[in-house]
């Protein structure tokens, strides 16, 4: 009987609410790190130059001077190498070898010479200003290294202090010497 009191059930509707309440959009963000390295390196673009110095002895002038070393034959010349180093710690060093008579290899008689000593200087041109390194052939071993840092330029090799050990006359023959310029990426 109690049911007689009830009114006709009307259509009822209700909404099932999704869990969490209001619907929101969610994004993702990401980062990718790209890495690479460049190793410290040096390279000679022009790595070899041969200087033909010609006749080394004085051939004219005072008789007392004829046959002795004509210094200008070496000191007036330069050789141009070219290279680069890509790192701030790069250095340049020079080791020069005396010019020796390769035709006459015995001990030079009194008054005569078969060896010419000199100082070689290499100069590079980084942006911050010229950097030089030198070596004298009088002492064995190379000269100390100079820091060039990053550079890409000509490397000019020049000569000074050309002299024979005792100032005597040069023995006739073929003469040969060399200068090694070393570029080191990092010490």
């Amino acid at each position: 009987m109690r049911s007689a009191l009830l009114l006709t059930a009307a259509a009822a509707s209700f909404t099932l609410v999704a869990a969490g309440g209001q619907a929101q959009a969610q994004s993702v963000t990401g980062t990718v790190q790209v890495n690479g390295t460049v190793a410290n390196r040096c390279l000679f673009v022009t790595d070899n130059v041969v200087l033909d110095l010609g006749e080394l002895s004085l051939q004219t002038g005072d008789v007392a001077a004829i046959g002795r070393l004509d210094q200008a034959k070496l000191t007036s010349r330069t050789a141009t190498l070219n290279g680069w180093c890509n790192g701030v710690s790069a250095t340049m060093a020079v080791e020069a070898q005396p010019i020796f008579n390769t035709s006459f290899t015995a001990t030079a008689p009194t008054g005569f010479e078969r060896r010419i000593d000199y100082t070689a200087t290499a100069s590079a041109a980084p942006a911050s200003g010229s950097v030089s390194a030198s070596d004298t052939t009088v002492t064995s071993g190379g000269g100390s290294a100079s820091t060039t840092g990053i550079f890409a330029s000509d490397i000019v090799v020049s000569f000074a202090d050309a002299a024979t050990p005792a100032g005597g006359r040069l023995i006739s023959g073929s003469y040969s010497g060399s200068v090694a310029v070393t570029l080191a990426p990092a010490t």
């Binding site: 009822a12 619907a23 993702v28 980062t31 990718v32 790190q33 790209v34 390295t37 390196r41």
Partner: protein, 195 residues
């Protein structure tokens, strides 16, 4: 006076009882609704809302000191490097935002004449789509960094592993520039929104 009252009561009674005597079916409908929020979520390479990774390119220079021709000649098909992620997005056209910084010497240093410490390149996001195609979203770095690339994917992301591949390729510098020695780094930034 008594007669009057009795008639009233009988009428009331009749009204109350009449409906209860009939049998009736009742029907009702309940509408069930729900919604799924549009969302993207990281599955591999991170979780939740962020992912991260790296692309190591190794030595960038070749023996003559310039940018490796392998890296400068790299393409989307054969990139310098890549890394993969999986992101699930439930929307029909997720929106991708992509940008990158230049690959630069870190810490930076001014470059002497003939040298560079900055490399431009193309950063790309290859999205595997649900229709078995791949859509590439790319960004090319430059001295004046362009605005980020914003692109909607043409359809949903594929529901598969590694559906996002980030690539670096087409590295380039000024012609003949020597690369300064050191470590180079850049950051590719990616945002994927449901819509």
């Amino acid at each position: 006076m008594n007669k009057t009252i009795l008639i009233g009561a009988a009428a009331l009674l009749g009204l109350a009882i009449a409906p209860a005597a009939m049998a009736q079916t009742v029907t009702g409908t309940v509408n069930v609704t729900g919604s799924v929020a549009a969302k993207c979520v990281v599955i591999t390479g991170g979780s939740g809302g962020t992912f991260s990774g790296s692309i190591p390119l190794g030595e960038l220079a070749q023996a003559d000191g310039t940018l490796s021709t392998t890296l400068s000649g790299s393409t989307n098909a054969s990139p310098g490097g890549s890394t993969q992620f999986r992101v699930n997005c439930n929307s029909a056209a997720p929106k991708v935002t992509l940008s990158s910084t230049r690959l630069a010497l870190t810490p930076s240093a001014s470059a002497p004449t003939g040298y560079t410490g900055v490399i431009d390149y193309t950063a790309a996001l290859d999205a595997a789509l649900a229709n078995s195609t791949t859509q590439t979203v790319s960004y090319v770095t430059a001295a004046a960094l362009p605005a980020a690339t914003v692109q909607n994917l043409s359809t949903s992301l594929a529901n598969s592993a590694g559906n996002l591949t980030v690539k670096a390729y087409a590295l380039n510098t000024a012609s003949g520039a020597l690369l300064m020695a050191g470590n180079y780094a850049s950051t590719i930034s990616i945002t994927i929104e449901p819509s």
